[in-house]
């Protein structure tokens, strides 16, 4: 008994004998120089851009800020961004859950190939992501003549934007859920099944509560990326003001028209979303650490 306790404590807090002694710390001068360099580097690359976005947005006052955002083209851009995101995120959520379930809970041949394929959209450049849809659905595309014959517009219209958004945010939910599902293992689901639950009951009442934080984070990330996507949407959109411009595209138009303050006003909304994403990430990490610690102590108790 006494021999097992130190092992479980170590397991709960992996690998840290972190007691800093004089032998394992640098002299104070080195420490503070390194800290100074890191802070200057981070400040220049992270804090400065944030400051510029919010500072420039409010340069001409609050009234101008609100006016820039309520201008018809800006409102149309916000609406299109919300539509594209509102379709892309739920679809990728369902896909992510299905993929995580199939890959996380079962063992089959070709698993790593499947994982690599799901990862593909990460590695493809945004412009190429948009291009592949143009090559499929555009005028000169593989399906172009068929689409024209049936008077369906995909490229340079909203459906194309939605498709491009789905592609670039494709792996997010799956990649967040998968490690969580794999770490949870099958024990609890198998227990639920032996107690008479059917598949859906098991899923909603056993699996989901265990992975809910990873799920939330995947959705938030997917959402942030979908709203902010620029390159892929730029290729498929046609840039028609008031019709096929999302918020990032509208920012580009304003900026190229030298309407800097208005551009930063719209940009500040997206920057706020980014900050919100970071906050949610912090919460999710904290909650996950809590959850893992609880599970570690629970399994430690049963191991006695």
């Amino acid at each position: 008994m006494a021999a097992s306790i130190p092992w479980t404590i170590k397991h709960a807090a992996p690998g840290r004998s972190n007691h800093a002694t004089k032998a394992t710390t640098e002299p104070a001068l080195v420490r503070w120089s390194l800290i100074a360099v890191a802070v200057v580097f981070l400040g220049a690359f992270l804090l400065l851009p944030l400051g510029v976005v919010f500072g420039s947005a409010f340069e001409k006052g609050f009234r101008f800020y609100i006016n820039s955002l309520s201008e018809p083209d800006a409102l149309a851009a916000i609406k299109l961004t919300l539509i594209a995101t509102g379709i892309a995120v739920p679809m990728n959520l369902i896909f992510g859950v299905a993929a995580a379930w199939a890959i996380g809970k079962f063992d089959f041949i070709g698993k790593s190939v499947l994982i690599t394929l799901i990862d593909l959209p990460f590695s493809v450049s945004p412009v190429v992501s948009g291009l592949i849809y143009v090559l499929l659905f555009g005028l000169q595309g593989l399906m172009g003549p068929w689409l024209i014959a049936h008077d369906i517009r995909i490229i340079f219209a909203v459906p194309g934007i939605v498709l491009a958004t789905i592609f670039v945010t494709f792996p997010f939910v799956a990649r967040e859920l998968l490690p969580m599902m794999q770490a949870q293992g099958n024990d609890e689901e198998e227990a639920a099944l032996t107690l008479g639950a059917n598949g859906w009951q098991t899923f909603f009442r056993v699996t989901v509560p265990n992975v809910k934080w990873a799920l939330l984070y995947g959705v938030i990330l997917c959402n942030a990326r979908a709203m902010g996507e620029f390159g892929a949407v730029s290729v498929v959109s046609g840039h028609i003001r008031g019709l096929t411009n999302t918020m990032p595209l509208h920012i580009e138009i304003l900026y190229n028209d030298y309407q800097f303050v208005a551009a930063f006003a719209v940009a500040s909304l997206l920057a706020l979303l980014a900050l919100l994403t970071l906050v949610v990430k912090g919460i999710v990490e904290w909650k996950t650490r809590q959850q893992l610690a609880e599970q570690a102590t629970a399994s430690g108790e049963t191991r006695q």
Partner: protein, 301 residues
Amino acid sequence: MAVRFKQRSIIPGFGLSLGFTLFYLCLIVLIPLSATFLKTSTLTWQQFLHVALSPRAIASYRLSFGGSLIAAMINLVFGLLVAWVLVRYEFPGRKLFDSLVDLPFALPTAVAGIALTTIYAPNGWLGRPFASIGIRTAYSQLGVVIAMTFIGLPFVVRTVQPVLEDLDRELEEAAASLGAGRWQTFRHVLLPSILPAALTGFALAFARAVGEYGSVIFIAGNMPMKTEITPLLIITKLQEYDYPGATAIAVVMLIASFALLLGVNLLQKWSSSQRRLDDAGAGRAEASPSLTPVLVREGGR
């Protein structure tokens, strides 16, 4: 004995989930990607090489790939430093900076692009002092590298942090008791452990910067042969309705992306086998999976 496709399990839903996964994957990813390669096959080898290796294309590869390489190296050095400082030291604002490191992931690329351009433009906060000593930070290749550094900033930090956090101080104490100075300890004891993770972060930052569009085009200047990145070249060709040309360059980028994806996967395998060695050496069971390595793989564009 026959090889089974799937191991026996009482868990339901395999057919449904795998079926839907494959269906969705084909629809959204595989079919459009195949369309690209199909379109390329309409070009002859000669035509393909003529476009893919034209002087303008080569100039853009040099900028996109060369700039990304430099930016990734900057991020390797500073990322290691930042990861070290965040893990090992306490100072006011440490938690804030730790969360902020992820900003380049979360911030939309167009927003990053206009913000960076405003800062480094000749009349901007950082642009003006540099301009006064004759260095053009915006609308130049230097501007491209700056934007690429911003984009790749979190990668090395986030791959190295978990490894640093899991390192045992005992090793360093042992080295110190054997007479090693701090730098020697770092170079010979710590660096080998964090090198795989750092290189993984380097490759990720490189891959991300190569394909980057939104953050870079505002600060780049976009002059053909000089400050034109490869994604912009693709878009220019599209606007000229030169679909075959655009496709050819896109295929070059796709091949590079897949090669980098393969490289990153190999590096991650090396990195996780290194961690298992370290864990085994320190006598621990395999550490529980953390969110952080997964969070690194994403990238907002």
